[in-house]
């Protein structure tokens, strides 16, 4: 049985979304900026997608939702344009973010540090989140922007966005949230929180890759990242990617309608899987309180089983999962999220992430439980951590010399 449990990396495009996109490749292909009938033919579909987006995150009509090529673009746009607007051409010089943001936020922040911006990387607590009071204590009068993800990709842990938003509002600081792992998975209501900018990505909620969006509260100023033909009101130039915009709107509509029911259904399968692994295996633990986690995510640590080795065995069993601690990565770092949570180094190399979707079936869960347990059994049989015969005196390992 093929089982895909890597839905925090990307998702299958819902066939209903593909169907919605199809006419906009070879039938209705005009440039929406053209004056003739071929250009305007796509306008009703784009308007529909825009409405689906506003409804999906309950944005106000005064807000902007600008389609981008991906969430990486949206994240870069906010960070680089706030730098341009408030730091290069303003009095500010400081950005607050967290240690466990997506690389598109962290790498952009490193770039800004190279340009002389001060960046504070907040640590997470043992639940893997940054508490609102921590954010408050690091905001100074020089702070231009707070950028904190809504939910974490590795753990699924949900951050206190409402509280952080109130603090930023009170302090008069711009607040950006990377909403990629939240939108389409949990209720996101932009009229209930004070967020200035939010990045989104269609392919995380069964839409196509290559399209994302940036929510901008109250249509406020943010210098464009892409200059050109004044598309999207001049906020983001580039010919509108009509089929993908149509797909993103449809995908968000499908993901957010009856979202409570969908969440309950996914969470039931997730909980069954998690409970089975926790009770069926010894020396395993999962990260983060389930009640404050996206309903599809499990990050499980398995003592004595290296993450990439485990992925190998799961892959042999036709199960796709992920590890944040790939032994192949150049710096061979332990899973940074797990280290931040305070897991000891040992366990930080043993994290496996299983992320479900609304298409995951009960039969798949049963299969994964069985194959996961047999993989752990096989790898522990090989593992030095479970060896019985102890080293000859003097043959013990020296302390770990690896840089963390």
């Amino acid at each position: 049985m093929n089982v895909y449990l890597d839905n925090n990396a990307t998702t299958m495009v819902d066939p209903a979304v593909v169907e919605e996109m199809m006419p906009f490749f070879s039938e209705i292909y005009g440039n929406p900026s053209s004056l003739h009938r071929y250009g305007t033919a796509s306008h009703p579909a784009i308007t529909k997608a825009i409405n689906q987006m506003y409804k999906g995150i309950n944005a106000s009509d005064k807000d902007d939702i600008i389609f981008t090529s991906c969430a990486t673009e949206a994240n870069n746009w906010v960070l680089k344009s706030v730098w341009f607007d408030k730091i290069m051409h303003g009095e500010k010089n400081h950005i607050v973010t967290t240690e466990i943001e997506h690389p598109s936020v962290l790498s952009a922040c490193k770039f800004l540090e190279d340009q002389g911006v001060k960046v504070t990387y907040l640590p997470v607590n043992d639940q893997g989140i940054v508490e609102a009071h921590t954010v408050r204590s690091f905001i100074t009068e020089k702070t231009a922007l707070v950028s904190i993800m809504w939910a974490n990709n590795e753990t699924g842990m949900i951050f206190p966005i409402k509280e952080i938003g109130e603090i930023c509002k009170e302090k008069g600081v711009l607040f950006h949230t990377d909403g990629v792992q939240a939108v389409g998975k949990i209720p996101v209501d932009m009229q209930d929180v004070h967020v200035d900018f939010m990045s989104m990505s269609a392919h995380k909620f069964h839409g196509p890759k290559g399209v994302g969006a940036l929510y901008i509260r109250n249509s406020q100023h943010l210098t464009p990242l892409l200059h050109g033909g004044e598309h999207m009101g001049g906020r983001r130039s580039g010919t509108l990617n009509v089929p993908y915009i149509v797909g993103m709107g449809k995908a968000l509509e499908l993901a957010t309608e009856n979202i409570q029911e969908k969440m309950a259904s996914i969470a039931a399968k997730r909980d069954r899987l998690e409970d089975a692994l926790l009770s069926g295996l010894t020396d395993v633990f999962t990260v983060g309180d389930r009640a404050n986690r996206t309903p599809n995510t499990i990050l499980i640590s398995i003592r004595g089983v290296e993450g990439e080795g485990m992925l190998w065995d799961l892959n042999n069993a036709l199960i796709g999962a992920s590890t944040g601690s790939a032994c192949a990565s150049e710096d061979l770092e332990a899973n940074s999220v797990m280290l931040a949570i305070g897991a000891d180094n040992e366990l930080a190399h043993t994290g496996i992430r299983l992320s479900l979707s609304r298409f995951t079936t009960d039969a798949e869960i049963d299969y994964v439980i069985e194959r996961f347990e047999s993989a752990v059994k096989r790898l522990r049989a090989i593992s030095s951590s479970y060896a019985i015969v102890q080293p000859t005196a003097g043959g013990e390992s020296a302390a770990c010399a690896i840089h963390h």
Partner: protein, 324 residues
Amino acid sequence: MAKNDLLGGSLWDQYSNKVTTLMNNPTNQGEITQEECDTAGHKLIVADFGAESCGDAVRLYWEVDPANDTIVNSKFKSFGCGTAIASSDMMAELCIGKTVQQAVKITNIDVEMSLRDDPETPAVPPQKMHCSVMAYDVIKKAAGLYLGVDESSFESEIIVCECARISLGTLREVIKLNDLKSIEQITDYTKAGGFCKSCIKPGGHEAREYYLVDILADVRREMDVEKMQAAADAGASGDFETMTLVQKIKAIDAVIDESVRQFLIMDGGNVEVIDVKDSPDYIDIYIRYLGACNGCASSSTGTLYAIESTLKEKLSTKIRVLPI
């Protein structure tokens, strides 16, 4: 970075069939107990290297016949990825039947070569080479335990890049001989730094005693000092063409002071050296006349000829003097 690098290769697809097979079914996985060894009158050696907290760990077991120091059986346990398990398995395989003294000569490169399907194609992608380094390290440790000596006594030289087994001495020599200026060049010439990259600079997978960036900087500094020294020596011995620019100007000034300037000053003039430009065929010396020489008719004929012929005679026949 070019066309072939746009889509990073699939890591696992670059493994040899042997690596894949041994990962799925390691043949020497397991333990050797004290009881088994006691029965046969053999000695049990168990050595650990790495730790779970480092991301990989291996435990090596040897059953050694003390009569001839032969490893009659070898097993392993490993906490690691596929290549770590396959490398450990091959390491144990290579130990069996060898004496401890022979086994200690097995390197990570032997392990990797043995994992190849064909001799020309690496068994694992570059970033996975470090997995086999642990095999080398744990063998040294086991041999040290058996022979009762410190494992460092098996190393006659300092290894900077463990993956490619390149020593400090080799690196220094190659940098000097080939006038290498960058880490990329060092990797091209020696393969050092081309695998797990830990040895390039601090902050990689593993903390190291020596880093390529430091070695390169040190050697370059030494080379500069040597070059200066050589140039100074050449100056003293009169080898004008190999001098540095500053030395050349000083030498030219010395000749002018000694043989030319006094005559110019007597006529109310002077000369200064503006620049020296080397080309394969000529050494062009740019001068400027001062005072009465400036505009004097013979400054572009007789005086110029006198200056040029004196410099040619004293320094180099390649000299041309050009007034500006």
